[in-house]
């Protein structure tokens, strides 16, 4: 990693990002950081969805020749990607009250983290001429911006993301159903939320999307305190989203609480896995570019494996 890259990375720390009030600048910093970490990645941006192989014909870009296939078959094959099929991406961002939580040790609320993530992804997509849309929700869809690949579209998305959270409750299952009805073409849907809803309802919503052949990535956001629950002494927990309040000695509940969280995550992950939905956990105290590149790298690896299986079988 170059010195310049290191200097750049220091702005990607959530504590630093939090001081950057402009979401646009924040998103660009994240994307720049992402690219500086990628170096010369063989994959081109977000829309790296593998679609098919075809025989090389004159005029094709030599960079897209699949040399592995050539080595096995002694023929030139060109990789064909969804990018070339005008990928549509929809960012579904949770704006319920629970997303406003920020523990004292965290720099960003979950919603601020989610907005930064969504802005970065949309910026990345638009850079690749992919169409990007945005939907914000709590109990219902509150904001809906249709996907578009117009570069000026990003400003509208960022402006929408800069809106804060409302008092509404998280109701992902219903919102996913609504979204599935609204999306007309096959879309890559990013669900950015703390997912504080019933797992069964969430799975039903995801199933609906998958039924409509949309690809779904669940970005499950957690504050560090929600994952560790390191409270002590008599504490009154005021539930957001009108969830009531509990006065308790948290140390006595910690073990059980963590078990509940682990169980929820395991169920959610298992449900996603069954539906071929990517499930990614984000800790709001973790640098966004690191989390983003880790996810994209794993996604690319999965695509390569799928491609190899197809060619090997062919």
């Amino acid at each position: 990693m170059t010195e310049a890259a290191l200097d750049h990375r220091k702005y990607l720390d959530p504590a630093v990002l939090a001081k950057i009030t402009s979401l646009q600048l924040r998103a660009r910093l994240i994307v720049e950081g992402y690219f500086s970490g990628m170096h010369r990645s063989p994959h081109h941006g977000l829309s790296v969805e593998y679609a098919d192989h075809r025989q090389y014909s004159q005029g094709d870009d030599l960079r897209h020749i699949d040399w592995r296939v050539f080595a096995r078959t002694d023929k030139y094959y060109i990789k064909q990607y969804e990018q070339e099929t005008n990928l549509s991406c929809m960012l579904l961002v949770d704006a319920s009250e629970s997303m406003s939580y920020r523990s004292p040790d965290s720099s960003l609320t979950k919603h601020e983290y989610a907005a930064s993530l969504a802005a970065a992804v949309s910026y990345l997509a638009l850079q690749q001429r992919d169409a990007v849309g945005l939907a914000r929700f709590d109990e219902h869809l509150s904001t809906y911006i249709r996907p578009s690949n117009n570069s000026a579209h990003w400003r509208a998305i960022v402006t929408a993301l800069e809106e804060g959270t409302g008092p509404g409750k998280t109701s992902i299952g219903r919102v996913l159903d609504e979204l599935a009805e609204r999306l007309s073409q096959r879309t890559l849907v990013f669900v950015v939320s703390d997912m504080f809803d019933d797992v069964g309802r969430i799975q039903r919503g995801l199933r609906h999307l998958r039924y409509r052949r949309h690809e779904v990535v669940v970005c499950n956001l957690w504050d560090r305190a929600e994952l560790t629950f390191r409270f002590s002494g008599p504490t009154m927990f005021d539930g957001l989203e009108s969830a009531g309040r509990i006065l308790t000695e948290p140390r006595s509940l910690r073990e059980r609480y963590l078990a509940e969280v682990a169980s929820f995550r395991a169920q959610l992950q298992a449900g996603c896995s069954r539906l071929h939905v990517d499930y990614v956990t984000f800790d709001t105290s973790t640098a966004l570019d690191v989390a983003l590149s880790a996810y994209l790298a794993s996604r690319a690896a999965r695509i390569r494996q799928r491609s190899s299986r197809v060619l090997g079988g062919g």
Binding site: E97, S98, M99, S100, Y101, K110, D194, F196, W222, D223, R224, E226, L227, T228, F229, R230, F231, G233, P234, T235, M236, F237, D238, G239, L240, E241, A243, G244, I246, L247, T248, R251, S252, L253, R254, E255, R256, Y257, L258, A259, E260, V261, F264, R265, V280, T281, F282, D283, S285, T286, A291, A294, Y295, S298
Partner: protein
């Protein structure tokens, strides 16, 4: 219910412990109030966690809280020294405890040796405090120790107020302590008690005078009675005295001679004893006749345990009864003032008629058998000289013609014999208070004297008469006379004068005495040990026998200088109506013998405290006596029988002047087992006294220790559960 079988040595601490039990609850509530508030998004997981842990947390939290409360409360209770009462364990249920309060109201408890408070006040205060502390429903009885011991509440009474009232109305007496009677009452009450064997307790509030408990000897009769009580109940003592209180007292006030004459000054003796442990200095004795101060006597220093007798003379202008009393002023260190006074009823007489029967009269007065004796009884130089006795000498044949009751004393000098009727008359005369002196001689028919006069001990003679013993046959010059042991008070004066001519007299013959009556005492004896002078009481009178002659026939005693005082002493002792018997002691009845012709009369007594009552009559040796109720106050009282009025004096018990107390070890020796004992009466508690009480402090402390271990285990378990574990709860980043 709990209070019936358990109590606390420090009840205030127990109350405080109950209050301290609230501390963990208060801390718990305060902690809940002092919580912090945080907003929380992942509420569903917290709610689910709480729901899942609710039961466990509830049990755990409240168990921990309960253990902490118990630790504090039980620790406080342990410090309050709880105990099961003597009867506690078996008293659970419907059983009640029968508690007997034994209160010493004898003279010695009037002593002030406890910081300005008398023993009596301390005993009453302690009794009242204990009475109030007894659990409701327990039965109470009350026994008092002053002689004669009584049981004013002799049954198991549940009326606590009545018992309290009874105690409050009590006052200390001037009587001695009747330990045997007290133990008898207690034993009877315990045997009649319905309470179970373990539910009986006896509390004795006393100064535990050593003398009353027979020195604490385990083989004394009171020890046997005490052990019977200890077998029946738990016995506790509340010692209301300091071990060695200083005390001085007047032990005696008496005339030097039993006869007090109006014709001449009479000598009196007053004895002051120092019962303390320091030398008594500067004490004085004031002597009063009636209200008039007659003498102020200065005492020299009296060593501890010693006494001093002072003599003084007092005149009485005419015959009659006089009230004499002496009062001791011994200074501020004298703990007991009640024994600093002594009363004496004195009956001064004109010369007392004495009937002298001369069995061998001579030509001149001194030649007769009774000549020397008659002279000795009325030793006057001139006819105007006052004499104490007025002897009238007659011959035996004239005896029946005399009115015997007019004489205070009848003397038979070498009289051969009395007829049977005369012996019967003599028997009655002596029984009714008359005096009889018989002197021996060659005329005396010993056999007849023995059969009719001694009559196997039922007659007035103190002994049976045997043969005549002569020293001439054995070649002995003559037998000397000496004082017999134990010494009779009649001849005490001679003991102080070894050079007395009494001891230089020689006796050549005497009549041997054989069997004696019960209570007969040898006053003088010869050098060979045979009795010379014997006395015995017979009914209300006294009789004496001199086994040699009072002329010069068998002995030269009559020619000795001290023959006169000896005869005066003997006559004074024997003469009817000697004044000494007109004094009694507090707690005893006054007994007035009835004279002839008084049978059927009403006898009314007026006690020194002014209370009056009619006497009861009882017979002794066929002679009626009027007996009063026990006299409880000291001073002068009167007995009125018809037109006759007698004054009697009632004095404090001399036994009570010795204030030395038993120590606890001696007390246990008496009772043969451990008894409850408390000396700090100001803080007396039921727990301090109960021999069978069970202190629970140690048990409670053990429980507290166990609870603390449980608390530690619970808290550790809880801490282990809430402590963070490696790998858990960390952020799961994709």
């Amino acid at each position: 219910m709990l209070a019936q079988w358990a109590a606390f040595v420090h009840p205030a601490l127990a109350s405080a412990a109950a209050g301290l039990g609230l501390v963990p609850i208060i801390i718990h509530l305060l902690n809940r109030r002092r919580h912090r508030r945080v907003p929380w998004a992942a509420m569903s997981f917290l709610l689910a966690a709480r729901h899942e842990s609710r039961k466990r947390l509830f049990v755990e939290q409240w168990l921990l809280l309960a253990v902490r409360i118990l630790v504090i409360v039980l620790l406080g209770l342990a410090l309050a020294r709880p105990y099961l009462q003597a009867d506690g364990l078996s008293a659970i249920g419907e059983h009640r405890t029968h508690r007997i309060l034994v209160i010493d109201d004898s003279l010695s408890v009037q002593a002030v040796d406890g910081g300005g408070r008398s023993r009596w006040q301390r005993a009453l205060a302690a009794a009242g405090r204990l009475l109030a502390a007894f659990p409701t429903g327990d039965a109470v009885s009350v026994v008092t120790m002053a002689a004669p011991a009584s049981a004013p509440l002799d049954h198991a009474s549940y009326d606590r107020r009545a018992a309290r009232r009874l105690i409050d109305e009590m006052s200390p007496s001037f009587q001695s302590t009747d330990v045997a009677g007290t133990l008898g009452h207690v034993t009877r009450i315990l045997r009649e008690s319905q309470a179970a064997a373990g539910n009986r307790a006896v509390y004795v509030f006393s100064d535990l005078a050593r003398r009353d408990w027979e020195g604490g000897r385990s083989d004394a009769p009171v020890a046997l009675a005490a052990r019977r009580v200890a077998e029946l109940a738990a016995v506790s003592f509340i010692h209301v005295a300091t071990p060695h209180a200083p005390n001085a007292s007047i032990r005696a006030l008496e005339p030097d001679s039993p006869l007090v004459s109006s014709a001449m000054p009479s000598r009196f003796n007053v004895t002051v004893a120092n019962e303390g442990t320091q030398v008594l200095r500067g004490a004085t004795v004031d002597v009063f006749r009636g209200p008039q101060l007659m003498r102020r006597l200065m005492l020299s220093a009296i060593e501890p345990g010693q006494s001093e007798t002072l003599s003084f003379s007092m005149s009485f202008e005419h015959a009659g009864q006089y009230q004499v009393h002496a009062a001791l002023e011994a200074g501020p260190t004298d703990a007991l003032e009640a024994d600093n006074v002594r009363y004496l009823s004195v009956e001064a007489s004109d010369d007392i008629p004495v009937l002298v029967v001369d069995g061998h009269p001579g030509l001149t007065r001194l030649e007769g058998a009774a000549g020397y004796l008659a002279t000795a009884l009325a030793p006057r130089v001139s006819a105007a000289d006052p004499v104490l006795f007025q002897p009238k000498t007659i011959q035996p044949l004239d005896l029946d013609a005399e009115v015997w009751d007019e004489f205070g004393l009848i003397v038979l000098c070498n009289v051969e014999r009395l007829t049977d009727p005369q012996w019967r008359r003599m028997n009655q005369y002596v029984s009714e208070g008359g005096g009889l002196l018989i002197t021996a001689g060659d005329q005396v028919n010993a056999r007849q004297y023995t059969s009719a006069g001694f009559a196997d001990g039922s007659g007035p003679l103190p002994c049976a008469l045997g043969e005549i013993v002569s020293t001439a046959a054995s070649g002995v010059e003559g037998l000397t006379i000496r004082l017999a042991e134990p010494m009779h008070p009649m001849v005490g004066e001679f003991a102080r004068v070894p050079e007395s001519s009494l001891f230089t007299a020689r006796v050549s013959s005497y009549i041997r005495s054989t069997a004696t009556t019960d209570g007969a005492q040898t006053v003088l004896q010869y050098g060979d040990g045979s009795p010379a002078l014997m006395v015995a009481s017979h009914g209300a009178g006294r009789a004496a026998l001199l086994t040699t002659t009072v002329d010069m026939q068998w002995a030269n005693l009559a020619a000795k200088m001290d023959f006169v005082p000896l005869m005066l002493k003997v006559a004074g002792f024997l003469t009817r109506r000697a004044g000494a018997h007109r004094t009694t002691e507090a707690g005893r009845p006054w007994v007035e013998p009835l004279r002839l012709g008084e049978r059927g009369q009403v006898c009314e007594f007026v006690a020194p405290d002014g209370s009056a009552h009619v006497a009861r009559f009882e017979a002794e040796h066929e002679r009626l006596r009027a007996v009063s109720e026990p006299i409880r106050r000291i001073g002068f009282g009167t007995a009125r029988i018809g037109s006759r009025m007698e004054i009697f004096a009632c004095n404090p018990s001399t036994d009570e002047s010795d204030l030395e107390s038993l120590d606890p070890a001696e007390l246990e020796s008496v009772f043969g087992e451990r008894v409850g004992y408390v000396q700090d009466v100001e803080r007396v508690q039921v727990a301090d006294l109960s021999r069978r009480s069970t202190e629970l402090s140690t048990t409670l402390l053990g429980v507290v220790f166990a609870l603390m271990l449980i608390e530690l285990a619970l808290a550790s378990r809880r801490a282990a559960r809430v402590a963070p574990r490696g790998g858990r709860g960390q952020s799961a980043t994709a």
